[in-house]
Amino acid sequence: MDINLSINGKLHAVQVQEDMPLLWVIRDIVGLTGTKFGCGVSQCGACSVLIDGKLTKSCVTSVSDAIEKDIFTIEGNSKNLEFLRQAWTDGNVPQCGYCQSGQLIAATSLLDLIEKPTDEDIDEAMSANICRCGTYARIKKGIHTAVKLKNETK
């Protein structure tokens, strides 16, 4: 069926089956490959996107559930994501980088919800995002750094 999607503020008209997971529409049809395929069963978080601001695993979300909603991916821009990117760079957070799109989207969602998250907030918010390189400590530090960077620019 014909579906109109809004991804990072840009409209995309796609022709796909309505039960195709959003992940594959974003990656293979629209061609934005920053959102990653990890497990395909909502266990790893690599495919994380925001739909109307809500953290969502795109590998188990049908494209039809995203119609007329705002989809936000790692290729998008938001203030919180920018601070996180800077913090990720300052702290050399990624190793192989594969899961980091999902990590950054989950962290963006966290900062959108909580202005100054505690370690416990971070543990809870980021628990669904797996990093096989084990960059968790740097991720946690990165989120705190992003908050600091944000407050410094206020």
Binding site: Q17, W24, L84, W88, L104
Partner: protein, 310 residues
């Protein structure tokens, strides 16, 4: 290793790979000195296939091995930066395409750094010597009165300095220095090798623009999924593809035979059934819809619980 000293510069690259413990194949393609240092049309200088110092000072390393996540793109760049006395911010890495001119691009066995570190260091040292030679000529002093630091060549008598990029074009016209004249740094003087460095891919990692294997897109590309035997080294006995063919987006279905090369079973092609589709999801759906009967082979009765007893 020592054979390199006996060769003339025309064969430098060709034997460089050999002497380094690397592989000679790819370098032989570039052994032509015309490829090695383009003169008339040079926009920068190309000491070899792997690094490119441009007039703007940028140093581009062509990574001919795959990145598997350990950070070899950064490690190999560090070897160049080290011996060249480069400023890290000018270093970038471009992933080589698969091509015979790069030689053996097989990436495994922790060999990328083991086999490439010294050649990369020598390349960096070679480039540095060429830059110093040009600068020394400009100042009319001995090369020994010059040193390189932080992307500049420094006149140690007057403390004048010239940016690497401003020396690149002239350096491109020089012959390659003899290997015996190349001096590598002492380990104690290392600033990059073995130090914590920022990944050269950080910007791409944080913007979703890094290209992993799964992200490669070429014109008219198809997507495939392969159904594999549930038992290691099993093969396809028979399969029914009717339901898989009906999946929207599935375009072709092939049986992949189990192939055993003369080198032994461990480097053979595992058998399976491949689904070719116009997107990944369709390929996955097609794979699920296949009905396959397997020849499970010698491992059919392998018992994990039994194995654990040994």
């Amino acid at each position: 290793m020592s054979t390199i000293q006996k060769i003339d510069r025309r064969d430098f690259v060709k034997l460089f790979g050999l002497a380094s413990g690397g592989i000679i194949l790819g370098c032989s393609v570039a052994a032509d000195s015309k490829d090695f240092i383009p003169s008339e049309h040079a926009t920068g200088f190309h000491p070899n296939l792997f690094i490119h110092l441009q007039k703007n000072g940028n140093i581009i390393l062509i990574a001919s091995r795959s990145e598997m996540g350990q950070g070899i793109r950064t490690s190999l760049a560090s070897a160049i930066a080290e011996e060249l006395e480069a400023d890290w911010q000018y270093i970038s890495v471009e992933q080589a395409i698969g091509h015979e001119k790069y030689g053996n691009q097989n990436t495994d066995g922790s060999r990328s750094v083991r086999t490439r570190l010294e050649p990369m260091r020598k390349m960096g040292a070679t480039a540095k010597m060429m830059l110093i030679t040009v600068a020394a000529k400009k100042w009319n002093i001995a090369t020994s009165a010059c040193k390189a630091a932080n992307h500049f060549v420094i006149n140690t008598i007057t403390n004048e300095q010239i940016f690497f990029g401003d020396l690149a074009a002239d350096a491109a016209k020089l012959p390659i220095p003899k290997e015996k004249n190349i001096q590598l740094k002492q380990v104690k003087d290392f600033k990059f090798i073995g130090k914590t460095l920022k990944s050269v891919d950080l910007t791409d990692f944080t913007h979703g623009t890094a290209t992993y294997g799964i992200d490669v897109r070429i014109p008219n590309m198809k997507f495939a999924a392969i159904a594999r035997s549930p038992v290691t080294f099993g093969s396809v006995k028979s399969f029914t593809k009717n339901n898989a063919e009906k999946v929207a987006g599935v375009e072709a279905i092939f049986e992949m035979p189990r192939l055993i090369p003369p080198t032994g079973k461990f480097f053979g092609m595992l058998g399976g059934v491949a689904i070719i589709a116009n997107n990944t999801w369709a390929a996955f759906q097609g794979k699920i819809a296949l009905a396959i009967e397997w020849n499970k082979g010698a491992n059919e009765n392998f018992d994990s619980e039994e194995f654990k007893k040994y």
